[in-house]
């Protein structure tokens, strides 16, 4: 019998053992998070029951508000768009072993920059303006998160702490500009920047009531997936994430890789800000600080930092968010209900990390002689 670990030529009709192992791995990283989410749902159900709400009714409403109808799905997808992008802000640096949680800051500043560009370019061709807005917001986001990556590499500053501090600084800057120099005098009760104008607004996808931001997010995910999985850059990135010393010994430019992964992630979050401004709000105001950056962290962790898995998870989390209004109206629950569910789900997902490699069914088969 030939050695079962023999590598078969690519494209071979015979299912290679390597591919089998890969499938097992994939099944494991789908089954364990789903199991953890079910446990989280049970725990949340117990919590709901303990405050006198019927958990089944809660879940029925979440389904109704997020996934039951075309209208609900559109609402869900509308929310999933920024979540996909902010999740990439966690998932890409995670390939290089960094835990970046500052997506909210990049989103807020990206949105502000987009609003400024959109207003300044009034009168130019809408498409050119939109491209300019996207480029500027991505650049701002890339610089913001790239800064956290640079601090990590050149100064050894913990990137988790620095990126969150940068978020607070970003929100302070945002408030300063929106309530000060950039404030539209016409916005009385809700300080905003000058509106970018209807003509420049990003429209809806054909046949749906969902804006183009979703397509931006999907495209960004696809690009990132290819980049991480099928390019030398992505391979080098994953080596850095696996073992920095090995990467250094292999002569990889660790600093550049760390910086690029952070900048790419920041660009995604910045683009999320542009989408929110150009497709939803029409100007930069406090509605931009809606916690998409934080929910994106959860999305990326559930998706195990896989750029493709981010998409369905973002839809799930977006759908739960979309049902929030219904939960508040029907069951008289506070708006933080979704935050509690997210928190429980996050803890369950992290605790489930310990289960990887524990189930025989997902492990490589014993070699048969």
């Amino acid at each position: 019998m030939p050695d079962s670990t023999m590598v078969l030529p690519a494209g071979s009709a015979v299912a290679s053992p390597i591919r089998g192992e890969r499938l097992r791995r994939a099944a494991e990283s789908v089954a364990i998070p789903i199991g953890a989410l079910i446990v989280a749902m049970i725990l949340f159900g117990v919590f709901m029951a303990s405050i006198g709400k019927n958990p089944l009714e809660v879940y029925a409403l979440i389904y109704k508000g997020g996934f039951s109808s075309g209208f609900a799905w559109q609402n869900t997808l509308q929310r999933a768009a920024p979540l996909i992008l902010t999740a990439l802000c966690v998932a890409l640096p995670a390939q290089a072993g960094l835990v970046i949680i500052g997506g909210e800051g990049a989103l807020v500043l990206g949105g502000l920059a987009a609003a400024v560009v959109g207003h300044a370019a009034a009168g130019a061709a809408p498409l050119a303006t939109q491209v300019a807005m996207a480029v500027v917001s991505m650049t701002v986001g890339a610089i913001w998160i790239g800064f956290a990556g640079a601090l990590r590499h050149y100064r050894g500053v913990n990137e988790t702490i620095s990126s969150l501090l940068l978020t607070y600084i970003a929100i302070a800057l945002f408030n300063h500009f929106v309530e000060g120099p950039l404030r539209d005098p016409a916005s009385l009760n809700k300080p905003s920047t000058e509106p970018i104008g209807e003509a420049v607004m990003v429209g809806h996808l054909p046949g749906m009531d969902v804006h183009w931001g979703l397509a931006y997010g999907l495209a960004f995910c696809a690009v990132c997936y290819v980049l991480v999985r099928y390019t030398v850059f992505g391979f080098a990135l994953r080596i850095v994430g696996g073992n920095v010393r090995a990467a250094r010994l292999a002569g990889l430019r660790v600093g550049w890789l760390v910086l690029m992964s952070c900048a790419l992630g920041g660009a995604a979050a910045g683009l999320a800000g542009m989408v929110e401004v150009a497709a939803v709000h029409g100007s930069a105001n406090a509605s931009l600080i809606a916690g998409y950056g934080y929910a994106g962290i959860l999305v990326s962790f559930i998706a195990r930092h896989n750029p493709i898995a981010v998409i369905p998870v973002a839809m799930l989390v977006g759908g739960i968010g979309a049902s929030n209004g219904l939960l508040q109206r029907r069951l008289d629950l506070p708006d933080a209900t979704v935050l509690v569910l997210q928190g429980i789900a996050f803890m369950a997902i992290l605790a489930a990390e310990t289960l990887y490699g524990r189930f025989r069914i997902f492990q490589p088969r014993e070699e048969k002689k």
Binding site: V99, G156, N158, T160, I161, L165, L173, V338, V340, M347
Partner: protein, 305 residues
Amino acid sequence: MELGWWGVPVAVLGGAIRVSTPFLFVSLGECLTEKSGRINLGLEGILVMGAMSGYGISHLTGNPWLGVLVAGVAGLILGLLHGAVCSLPRVNDIAVGIGLMLFGTGFAFFLGKPFVQPKAPTLPAIHLGDWASSPQVQSALQVNVLFLIGVVLALAMAWAFRSTRWGLVVRIVGDSSDAARAMGYNVNAVRVMATAAGGFLAGIGGSFLSLYYPGSWNEGLSSGQGLMAVALVIFARWQPLYCFYAALLFGGAGALGPALQSVGITSGYYLFNAAPYVLTLAIMIATCSPRRTLVGAPGELSVTR
């Protein structure tokens, strides 16, 4: 008597004493946790939870000190949760901290909804400045008992780490889990206890926010104090006494915005409010280095590696 521009340093000093107390408690708690070799980024969530539960209990029972105690217990429970989850093999303590941050704040917002409006009895202040004729100086020297407890605690912790059995055990576990295991100590148990005790202190720090200054409960109450305290511990080189000085420094930075506003400078209000974050970041940039581990860093701590 009018102080005019002198009001700024006086207000910053008073603010340093007032604002530093939550920093002090959270950083002492984090110091204890990190000394045992784990980092708890979730103290932000614990802080908010402590603020909510302290205010709620004070409102329901009319006794703010009971609120402080319950806030500590709430922090203890969340600390236990962090400690227990991190004790599972292959679970990353930084990630669990992020989870706890979201979990704690979400839970506190949920349970704290009914307490946003009502007034609760708050903690009394000790007036140390009654000799002064200026009302600014008087208000600057209003000291809360918790601040004094925090100072005593910092001294006690410094002593305990140096010369008690418990302190040494925590330090051994934090510096080398292998050595601790060889000596027969249960590494995870020590870390869970250290995290829980740290959570207790952070919860008390949170209750100070809602029960003394600013002295009310709302969802915007804490804005990163818990996280800044984590950075503060690194700056303080894991020494409880330095934590105290650093907390005063951070408190002063936090008081800068309101102090300048009181003398009529309002244009850069939001920027001055960012001062503590900028200061934290600047300090971390100045003190960290990619080439060497920090002096005094517990050997098992992942954040400095």
